[in-house]
Amino acid sequence: MRRILLCIALVFAVGLLAPWPPPQAPRAQGTDVYLNVTGGGTRKLNIAVPDFTVVAGNDTAGLGKQLATIAGSDLTFTNLFSVVAATGTIPANNPTALRQSWADFAAAGAHAGVHGLLALRGDRVETEMRLYDLTTSDQRLIATRKFELPAAQARRLAHKVADEIVLQFTGEAGVADTKLAYVVGPLGSKEIQMADYDGNGALSVTRNGSINLSPVWSPDARSLAFTSFMKGYPDLYRAFPFERRPEQTLAAFIGINSSPSWSPDGRTVAMTLSKDGNPEIYVLTIANGTMRRLTRHAGIDTEPTWSPTGQQIAFISDRNGSPGLYVMDTEGSNIRQLTSGGFHTQPRWSPKGDTIVYTSRQGTHDLWAINPDGSNPRRLTTGPGDNQGATWAPNGRHLAFQSNRNGRWQIYTMLADGSEQNPVTRGGGEATSPSWSPRLP
């Protein structure tokens, strides 16, 4: 039985916060919290997210409504909140109307309400969010925070508001202001794209007409390591999708150069090279190009994934006949076998360190999770179709993966226990190999 007991304790922290522009409050430390999420299975917090109120500029594009909708969608995605249906826009500078609106929302079941104030200033957009506790008769202000971004990135304002709300209630920011990178295209012509975590705003990362595979975000969310045949052979590169900067070659040795995995400090990349005869795992130090070999075995060793402490690496080896999951210390010593028998690939260590998710083949492919000590292997997906290639959200609560359940490969997300599976991409083509970025800087 995989149902986990859950206890959500909600503690509203009340601060005496100055209004616009508020000073930056120190982020949750110590006692100012929360909603303490200790497991899955939930009762949700009902939150009202009325349309953002325009306080400066002319909102011809209807951004105030869009941002509220996006923030609401982000909060719903967390599975911690239920968004209470909105009842129109709250007028600016009208405390009486605001109080009445919150009273109405509270009567409709809302525990909290967020009021967004939107200022459109040419090519910049700023938003102040004000978060209220609606369970108290005085509708206390819990927190305020202001964000400013280029108008072209306005969507991120809603993501940042949602992430801040999650922070206020749980002590850890949400993951809405993140990107997914993934591979698109038919066989023989695969390119890397990225989009918001919810699939919106897809952009090309590579356009080289070759085969590009296995994008993996660096820990600073500024670059992607990936495998590409752009020069004929499978080599490893690094792209900088937010900068005008050419790809950097990470490894182009004879044989395969593949399966990149960033160390948590971003200084090194573990990878698979076959330059010394067969696929082995190496670690490249980016700054000086030194390459350290970790595995020495006649079989296949590939798909390294770092533990969040940087002390261990899980990987796949067929040294016992078929591919299985192993863990070693970062020096390559102390190799332990986690799975026996079967056909297991694609290990991804959780950012919280307590779980490794992987793909298990039993006719079709499904996602499983296991503890790093090899205990408690558990199934996360049960079809339909194949479900594989998981990637963790930076908070360790969500996974993105690829599934062909509807005929074509598309990217889906789910909670870490396998529940709440929903599509992210809905394009006409194929989308595979997702990598979930860290929170954007």
């Binding site: 922290a13 000073p23 990135q153 705003g201 499978p234 040795f253 690939t345 793909t359």
Partner: protein, 204 residues
Amino acid sequence: MATSRRAQMMLVSLMVVGVAMVGCAKRPATTTAAAAPAPSGVTETTASRAPEPTPAPSTAAPSGAGTAQPSAPAGGAATAPATRPDVKTFTSVKDLNDIHFDFDKYDIRAGDAKILDANAQWLKSNPNHLLLIEGHTDERGTNEYNLALGERRAKSAMNYLVAQGVQASRITIISYGEERPLCTEQTEACWARNRRDHFLVKPR
């Protein structure tokens, strides 16, 4: 810090069992709805796919300070050519036949050894040709693992041919993993065709 955050705690404890999802409101219809404006200031970056600086030797990395610069291959790679020829310059010839593999295997099957013997014979009779061995897998298994598996299949054939007297310095191997199947139906017959080594040559 300027803010004083008086933490007055109010415990609203929502203790819950399993699936009791209270007030599960309708999901706002945003997730992929089209209304959203184009995000992020990164739009211009796709224009940045400028040609890379040409790397000097094919195994070394380009770029400036702070970039990784893998050194030349070492150790066991000594049996392979020191550089990587352009794969596009190789062509198939009818005298060199594919060999096939069992699922998740890279050992040479008995029947396929005869094919490799014939291939070795042709290569010895045509000493002015260089050989490219492509290793392929079927679509099952997963991407990165299949890249490694294809590599092992190509390497198996290379080792066999070298044992038959073909000079290792004439042979280059490449793995395409599952990326270049011959057929795409989801049947064992199709998968079996895709699990192959393919042989191509070019004059020296």
